[in-house]
Amino acid sequence: MAALGIAIGGSNWFSALALGVTLLKCLLIPTYHSTDFEVHRNWLAITHSLPISQWYYEATSEWTLDYPPFFAWFEYALSHVAKYFDQEMLNVRNLNYSSSRTLLFQRFSVIFTDALFVYAVHECCKCIDGKKAGKELTEKPKFILSVLLLWNFGLLIVDHIHFQYNGFLSGLMLLSIARFFQKRHMEGAFLFAVLLHFKHIYLYVAPAYGVYLLRSYCFTANKPDGSIRWNSFSFVRLISLGLIVFLVSALSLGPFLALNQLPQVFSRLFPFKRGLCHAYWAPNFWALYSALDKVLSVIGPRGFLRCLILCALSSFMFGWHVHEKAILLAVLPMSLLSVGKAVDASIFLILTTTGHYSLFPLLFTAPELPIKIVLMLLFTTYSISSLKTLFRKEKPLFNWMETFYLLGLGPLEVFCEFVFPFTSWNLKYPFIPLLLTSVYCAVGITYAWLKLYVSVLTDPPVGKTKKQ
């Protein structure tokens, strides 16, 4: 009994947090789901019932397969479990099929695959050093980071209400970051290559990976002042990295290369191949170019993490056809930085709070209104208060302007959700709440981006051999 007690008891807070959020996800099963639900059901059907040669050509439904091949294989694997729940969902002609068993299966598949995310969070916690910690469990950085990641508001409502599979994908990314912190660069590179072939949106942060691996892995040593030692370049490492990327890509795109379908696959993945591609990459790269110089002199996984977040944010800011869900790409890695330094905590809180608020329009149904408000309040009060407590010995996290801005989200929500719908303008200009939300959040996100940029540029360049 005592052994059972210790296993379940207070020493294993991480399991309690993970189990708790899993149970919450189970409670969210009957909530509203978006068209993304039908998208994934369709992909289950396509990968199950049709041969590979048809996967990227099938167009019965408007939701054609537009993710890289690994994701298609993932859906294929899921479909073999799905057939025990409801065979009908695997019929390509059953558009908008959503029996209760289908719903149950789909929801459980997201909850189940989140296990990878939980594992990744566990690994990330190992990379945080707890020197700043007090004796109290709730004040330890590991605990705070676990809550910020496992109970992340954005992930919960996008994955488990709206319906997507960002959990395990973010898990892959966080795991690769953790591997870099643990100096297991090859694994990190491999994980990222795999991730790219699951969802190509992660190309946004590929420059960060490329630069970091080149700078800190291929150049094996630094001069005492932190700058590159040019003669320490290791061709072996470069080749092995290249080999990893090549092998992963071969595994993913190989079958389609053999079928001569590569152009079709790419046209699905990048629907506006010519002009727009250049259009959205250009500002991203340009934004990064100016920091490249500084970035090259920032060594260590922390520098890489900042670079990654900057990439993600820049692409969010300037990218074309960017979905508001892409803010999660920046928010999740930023959590890792937030428990390290007060400045990062401040940026994280502004970014996260406004980013999460910008996700509100995704859930527009009445039964989900209390859920999104209460869950947002829960995450926001916890994140702000716990980080404030963690950094209470340093100067306050927010100045008056920032505090005012964040508090302004409350009245904004009341106006958009409760006041505006009952005014006469609702019929003439129904887009106003969305417009206000987007503009207000854009201010916050831009501000966070600028602050992060500035802090990267003004950080002392000398490579302190920080472990973090």
Binding site: G5, P370, I371, S386
Partner: protein, 507 residues
Amino acid sequence: MEKWYLMTAAVLLGLIVRWTVSLNSYSGAGKPPMFGDYEAQRHWQEITFNLPIKQWYFNSSDNNLQYWGLDYPPLTAYHSFLCAYVAKFINPDWIALHTSRGYESQAHKLFMRATVLIADLLIYIPAVVLYCCCLKEISTKKKIASVLCILLYPGLILIDYGHFQYNSVSLGFALWGVLGVSYDWDLLGSLAFCLAINYKQMELYHSLPFFCFLLGKCFKKGLKGKGLVLLIKLACTVVASFVLCWLPFFTEREQTLQVLRRLFPVDRGLFEDKVANIWCSFSVFLKIRDILPHHIQIMISFCFTFLSLLPACIKLTLHPSPKGFRFTLVSCALSFFLFSFQVHEKSILLVSLPVCLVLSEIPFMSTWFLLVSTFSMLPLLLKDELLMPSVVTVMAFFIACATSFSIFEKTSEEELQLKCFSTSVRKYFTCFTFLPRIIQHLFLTSVITMILLTIMTVTLDPPQKLPDLFSVLVCFVSCLHFLFFLVYFNIIIMWDSKNGRSQKKIN
């Protein structure tokens, strides 16, 4: 308080769990002609809004008492009236006389669920937070943990936000009563408790402990002086609150009698449906409902109930203390549940509330009891298609209690508050040292049985000759548990202050 943000987080978590459970089905959903408790509440809004007060409790062409006639005291009627008033603004079709029978829609469900949440937020949740903040001799962390565990108690959430009822109002008022009376705000406490009784007459299960505790306080203050003054003030408060609530019904004798007839339907039998009390379980072996005449049934039930709660109540009157009060609330409510007349399975919530209050003192046994109490309502929950939320909330509650209170490490005699009892027994049987181990084994057996029975009820079909087999098994097993707990709580009460003052509280 420090760590206020963790307290806020606990309350917000409680709210989220409540609302997500409310997204599921409710009692009688889509089941004409009678539907269920949800339709009953809607119907009461219709009746109270459209008919004059004098007709609320009477049978008439507009008010068919056979179709969910009002059978709760006036405060419930006033509450329904208030809700109906709001409903009129949103959609009058919801409460239109006669035509709104069986009305079901997404918007209406949202409205009804919102009324439960608002009532909960206004009455029950603040009481719980205040109660835990005022707990003495425990750390802030344990206070927050108590709030979390009490708010996560599955039974109340599933019945109020799943099945659909307003138990949080009456239980909340009762809790305010407990708070008032425990911290010497006797008049306010009794006022709150009177409101509770006037909301649901089942709160009478708690009335004896309140009475004995307050009487004991008066005795302690001396019946010749301050005690008498207090007694008179209390009597006046009680009478005044009853008069205020029942004012419209005191105008005529017939009105008062009719309401009483609706509240206490003595014409109905010893029990209805399957409930985990003695009479229902006993009738597995011997059909007493059919054998004994009606008035004998009432007599037997009365005798057993009062015999079983007398010792604790007498002790409370002679030695009034907040701790004794809480435990007597448990044992009295449990006695009533087990032996009383016309008990419904939801009445177990009246026992669960006081057990929640002693959660921080005896976490292991309280958690065990609260799990069993939820399990005892399994047939009802399955009927309402609440299997998934039930399983999830039970697991969440269990994890919350297990991690917050480290319950499995707190099974020694001292922590089970059985030290005095064991010492007394050891005077006769020196080898009586195995109590904690027995209790641990019993717990394990109990959990395994409950899980097995749940799986069996969900997956298997009962044999044709015994269609109620699983419900009866659930009731029988729960009843055995409750008897065990009745004995346990009575032991704690009776053996308590032998060396009460010298015992240090370890938390």
